[in-house]
Amino acid sequence: MQLGRVTGTVVATTQVEGLRGVRFLVVQPLDKRLAAVGETLVAADAVYMAGPGELVYFVASREAAEALEPRFVPVDHAIVGIVDEIELRADA
């Protein structure tokens, strides 16, 4: 799993059948010190409570399709948790 910051929301009225009811959020992937790395992506919200500004962790590929009910909806990234706190060792 990787860390990410939710930076926005996506609404898509026309979509494939399997995506009905799935919330989509724009996520900027982060490194462990919360610096941005790589391109932003669109992730399904599998905790149904994530929103813009929040620090989250997400899974990719098959694990993302496993995160939602029903399983194997066509998504490639899914948010599976909201971070309360990260504690890194002093010299990390």
């Binding site: 799993m1 860390l3 462990k32 694990e63 496993e66 909201i82 990260i86 990390a92």
Partner: protein, 96 residues
Amino acid sequence: MKIARVEGTVVSTIQHEFFDRQRLLVCDVIDPGGEPTGEYAIAVDVVGAGVGETVLLLDEGSSARQLFDVDTGPIRAVVVGIVDEVSSEGGELQID
């Protein structure tokens, strides 16, 4: 599997039900000489690894689901061992 060093912990209350009460670790992937490769993962700990320890990081979903004895679940990165010593062509990594 990859060799990694535990750099910290993640506290999370709102999460997918699969991760309920699981311990989450921030792990830096390292090379056999102990240098970080730049890759990291948030991983579930099943061996009781502590911050600063060198660990074996499983990074494959099917094996991870077998480990948790489930057919489904959004799980991939799991800390599955605590490393005592690494010896390879790149040198030796002695763990304190």
